[in-house]
């Protein structure tokens, strides 16, 4: 025990002051320490994400994230991260087109003034107008040159991406690639809607949110989109019945987001991807109007099929019948609706023998049954059970043809 009271008091005061100085010093440095911790934590999150990715995701999406053909889309992918390879050119064309419209308007105004019979311009003014119109014409030519150059540059870039396009980059690009200049707007709309993955799927949030949502909920129906995948993208989160905790979902997302190269993506990166993502739903692209539904007039439908050479695929029809339109939930054992199995036999041997179907082909009977389900109800089943809108809303011609083709195999 320190003998004198004063020494003890002095030592105590020194200690307390020292504690305050130390804690104060720590407090001053806390901001930097906390930032360093966040940095370090992000690094470790990516590490854990890499481990989870290797064990759970790499099988389908590829060890290096390039995806696998018809199995799963690549994630280490410039298109996925919103890098538009022709963004610069598309913007240049858009600008030039806008300028052209303005120049056209100016030119029209001058022309109107020049040819105004009620109030003809003076000679001096006429000359002036002529000069101005020539100047505008030069500018128009310049803008057209700019467009030509940008189009050529864009064509060159897209040409070098040929292999990537074949692997799913810019689906439906082929349908508009060779359009003439009047289709510029169409092309621009196409790139605005397809230039990046988020635009393609119409996701309003950010990419990380998109990744996390997909990890949590999976992709219902992705088995149909990716025939080579083994079960499709399942819901991984415990929230949605999967096996991963939220922090693990975030770790994987951190790892995936770490592939982003910002503005440093290269053509090689495009070409390395094995498979690009597909647009959602039925293959129509957001921004491009959906094809018209088949309608509810069987005769017109069949006439159109003949004219446009639409042929159904029984294989696609089977998938549509089973999953997309859910027909088998009723048409399965004959309890609530006629059984799918034997449909075609029954149509040919029973229905068509009835007088009201005189002159019908089996195909026409099937089309009518789908688009006008109330027209005839088989004895023993209630009318109004089948949704009446397959023709008017749900199916396009091709899908209807596929389903009919499938039913024609059900003997």
């Amino acid at each position: 025990m320190i003998k004198s009271v004063e020494s003890r008091i002095l030592t105590g005061i020194v200690m307390f002051v020292a504690i305050m100085i130390l804690v104060g010093w720590v407090a001053i440095n806390e901001e930097a320490r906390m930032q360093a911790f966040v940095y370090q934590h992000t690094g470790r999150s990516i590490e854990r994400g890499a481990e989870l990715y290797a064990s759970l995701c790499a099988e389908c999406h590829g060890e290096e994230g390039y995806g696998a053909l018809l199995r799963a889309p690549g994630l280490n992918n410039p298109h996925f991260f919103g890098y538009d390879p022709v963004g610069e050119q598309t913007a240049a064309i858009t600008n030039a087109n806008r300028t052209l419209v303005r120049l056209g308007d100016d030119s029209d105004d001058l022309l109107a003034e020049l040819t105004d019979a009620a109030n003809p311009p003076s000679d001096e003014r006429q000359n002036q107008i002529q000069t101005e119109m020539e100047a505008i014409q030069t500018q128009i030519d310049n803008q057209k040159n700019i467009i030509d150059e940008a189009v050529a540059a864009r064509q060159a870039i897209l040409g070098s991406l040929r292999t990537a396009v074949e692997k799913g980059l810019f689906p439906l690009w082929d349908t508009i690639e060779d359009s003439d200049r009047t289709a510029f707007n169409e092309i621009e709309v196409f790139f605005n809607n397809n230039g990046t993955r988020l635009a393609q799927v119409g996701w309003a949030g950010d990419l990380r949110g998109y990744v996390i949502t997909t990890l949590i909920h999976g992709r219902p129906g992705s088995l149909n989109v990716w025939p080579n995948s083994d079960g499709g993208m399942v819901a991984w989160s415990q929230l949605a019945g999967g096996s991963l905790r939220q922090d693990q979902i975030e770790d994987i997302a951190a790892y995936i987001m770490n592939w982003d190269k910002g503005s440093n993506w290269t053509m090689e990166d495009y070409l390395a991807v094995e498979q690009y993502g597909k647009p959602l739903s039925d293959g129509s692209i957001p921004g491009v109007p959906r094809p018209d539904p088949a309608g509810d007039n069987p005769e017109m439908i069949l006439a159109r099929w003949a004219e446009e050479e639409i042929v159904g695929s029984a294989g696609n029809g089977a998938i549509l019948y089973d999953t997309r339109f859910g027909c088998t939930s009723c048409h399965r054992d004959g309890a609530s609706a006629p059984d799918t199995i034997g449909t075609w036999t029954r149509v040919l041997t029973e229905r068509l023998t009835e007088p009201q179907f005189a002159g019908y082909t089996g195909e026409r009977y099937l089309v009518e049954s789908i688009v006008l389900p109330a027209a005839y109800v088989v004895d023993g089943y209630s009318s109004g059970a089948m949704p009446p809108d397959f023709g008017t809303r749900q199916m396009i011609d091709q899908q209807l043809a596929d389903v009919v083709a499938f039913l024609m195999t059900q003997e």
């Binding site: 025990m1 804690v23 370090q40 890499a50 064990s55 922090d247 790892y255 770490n258």
Partner: protein
């Protein structure tokens, strides 16, 4: 006549003058606050003078005040030094309050739910100013508290202070020791990381061994068969409510008993069989005010200062990855103060060693004052009890050592070695493989074979030769297959080994030497072994490290290598499937129509069987921001 319509301070000012009224007011207030000492008395006390008025005003705070009535007004000079108490009792009390204060601060940011708890830990570390310091202090304080309370018990044993009349004091102290252990243990789970989940799982599983009601006790404690949301909530409530409440109750009883019987004197200071703690001669008295008070405040500052320094520079509370009941980490242990039970469990039956033994040990400790009834507290007269004390310390130490993961738990050598190199940070240690600086992780395949060369060969020669060998005997291909199986991209697998770039990557070199060293330590289990490290660039700022061990397979029985009479390991020999032919030379088919095959030994050119080659690999990813090497 009052100045205001009621009597007030202004009347004093009018009567005595402003200055005098103020001073008297202050003096009066101080006397009320200190329950008896006015300004002059306080001044004298702090100067170390004797009190100038009678009766001694320094005794009134003990007589009239609430806080000091719990403390004796004077101590015997013989108990105020370092010996005999070593301040362990005082330190125990100090940590009770220290842990309460830091604990309450941490509670502000903590939610006891498995979904949130770990995130809260990260928040405390990443977004709460002084949060890390507070957590470190709470954790370090907890470890100290367990140690201090245990040492306090040993000190009491050694000085014989548990003897009559302090038997019950000893008993309440033992209860406090147990409560302290459980307090610390229940707090262990709260961060909800791998370390806490598995340490507590091991600890709590001992409750399972209780006869008859083991399952019920377990269920009651965990709230479910496995630790989960309910278990975490229960441990939290134990930690912040139930156990502290019990602690404060017995702390009160314990201290009351200490004061009632007086601080026991050093054994040689009193006659055998006498207890003179309460009869303090005038010349031996050290008064609480001012001596003990200033002394304690000084120690309060000093102890807190030491803990602050430790937590700033030397100690950080561990935080491993998020708790995952599906993933059992290698080498899990109970907290260090329960290691002795874990060690005892390795001796045999779970009930006998996990429940009966600790209960009997604690019961014996509780009965100690009633078993040892000899009157003398002198060391010379207590050789037997002091021997028992030393045996207790030794046994606890040995059992604790046995509780360590490395003792008597058989893990295969290759797993052990790779784990040793790659384990995640825990208890201020980290696998050396993670400490390679990021810029020294140069992509390529490296092998420990580089260190196996003979005199005169350069590293490049050895590796060239090794590349030839492993290409010829298929070992390289086996490694490549293993790597692909472990989801290393086929594009990234290196085509051959290269020499370790010692100049650019000295730490990588050191790690490979360490790897080699470990492999050479298991010659019987891993004959003809080589290890490899394959470093690949995985992403921007992210490397992948694959650790590979390749060796000749040996027969393992019961965790040990089976040896022949000469002490050499017995090999497992490679086989291949060959079709079975009947006597006429036609292939034989089974019922399913498949051609039958049988295993046949693979022979080398000289007709000797070839040992089966086994391969093991594990990998880790390292991001440049992870800073394992800081």
């Amino acid at each position: 006549m009052s100045i205001l319509p009621f009597p007030s301070f202004l009347d004093d000012v009018k009567e005595k003058g402003f200055k005098k009224a103020i001073f008297e007011g202050i003096d009066d207030s101080v006397e009320r606050l200190t329950a008896g000492m006015n300004v002059q008395d306080v001044r004298e006390a702090l100067r170390g003078d004797t009190a100038s008025r009678r009766p001694n005003p320094r005794l009134t705070p003990h007589a009239d005040g609430f806080w000091l009535h719990m403390r004796p007004s004077y101590f015997n000079r013989d108990v105020t030094g370092m010996y005999p108490s070593f301040r362990l009792g005082w330190l125990s009390s100090y940590f009770v309050f220290f842990e309460t204060i830091t604990g309450i601060l941490l509670m502000l940011w903590y939610t006891p739910s498995p979904e949130i708890a770990y995130g809260d830990m990260l928040t405390i570390l990443s977004n709460v100013p002084l949060g890390q310091l507070m957590r470190d202090m709470h954790r370090l304080g907890a470890e100290f508290m367990v140690a201090v309370v245990a040492l306090h018990m040993m000190r009491t044993w050694i000085t014989g202070s548990y003897k009559k009349p302090r038997q019950f004091t000893w008993f309440t102290g033992l209860l406090l020791l147990v409560i302290t252990g459980f307090l610390s243990f229940s707090g262990y789970l709260l961060p909800w990381d791998q370390l806490s989940l598995w340490a507590v799982t091991i600890g709590a599983s001992m409750a399972e061994a209780t006869p008859v009601v083991g399952d019920q006790v377990n269920l009651l404690l965990r709230g479910a068969p496995e630790l989960g949301a309910n278990g975490l909530l229960r441990f939290y409530l134990l930690h912040v409510l139930a156990l502290p409440a019990l602690l404060f109750v017995f702390f009160g009883v314990h201290y009351y008993k200490v004061i009632i019987h007086g601080y026991s004197l050093p054994p040689q200071k009193e006659n055998i069989g006498e207890d003179t703690a309460k009869r303090v001669p005038l010349d031996k008295r050290v008064y609480f005010i001012p001596d003990i008070l200033t002394n304690e405040l000084m120690w309060l500052g000093a102890t807190t200062f030491i803990i602050t320094v430790l937590c700033i520079w030397f100690y950080h509370a561990p935080l491993e990855n998020h708790a995952d009941p599906q993933v059992t980490p290698l080498g899990t242990t109970a907290p260090w103060y329960f290691l002795w039970i874990q060690g005892a469990l390795k001796l045999g039956d779970k009930f006998i060693w996990g429940v009966a033994f600790p209960s009997v040990a604690l019961g014996a400790l509780a009965m100690l004052p009633y078993l040892d009834v000899t009157p003398s507290r002198r060391f010379a007269h207590r050789r037997f009890m002091l021997t028992i004390a030393m045996l207790l310390v030794s046994a606890t130490t040995i059992l604790s050592y046995m509780g360590l993961a490395k003792f008597a738990v058989k893990t295969s050598a290759e797993t052990e070695i790779v784990h040793e190199l790659t384990f995640e940070p825990a208890h201020s240690k980290v696998g050396i493989g993670r400490t390679i600086p990021f810029d020294q992780m140069i992509a390529g395949a490296y092998s420990t074979a580089q260190f196996h060369g003979h005199e005169g060969l350069t590293a490049a020669d050895i590796i060239t030769e090794f590349n030839g060998e492993t290409a010829a005997n298929g070992q390289y291909e086996q490694m490549v297959d293993e790597l692909k199986f472990q989801k290393l991209s086929a594009n990234q697998v290196p085509v051959r080994f290269r020499t370790i770039p010692e100049m650019e990557a000295p730490v990588l070199m050191r790690v490979m030497e360490e790897f080699n060293h470990h492999l050479e330590e298991a010659p019987t289990e891993l004959p003809n072994v080589w290890g490899a490290l394959v470093i690949t660039d995985n992403q921007r700022g992210l490397k992948r490290l694959d650790w590979i061990v390749s060796w000749d397979s040996v027969v393992i029985e019961g965790g040990d290598v089976k040896l022949d009479d000469e002490g050499n390991p017995l090999f497992v020999y490679a086989t291949k499937d060959v079709p079975v032919f009947d006597d006429e030379g036609d292939p034989v088919f089974d019922d399913m129509g498949e051609a039958l095959t049988e295993a046949e030994l693979v022979l080398d050119a000289e007709g000797n069987p070839v040992p089966a080659r086994r391969i093991f690999s594990d990998h880790l990813f390292i991001h440049e921001a992870s800073a394992y090497f800081d």
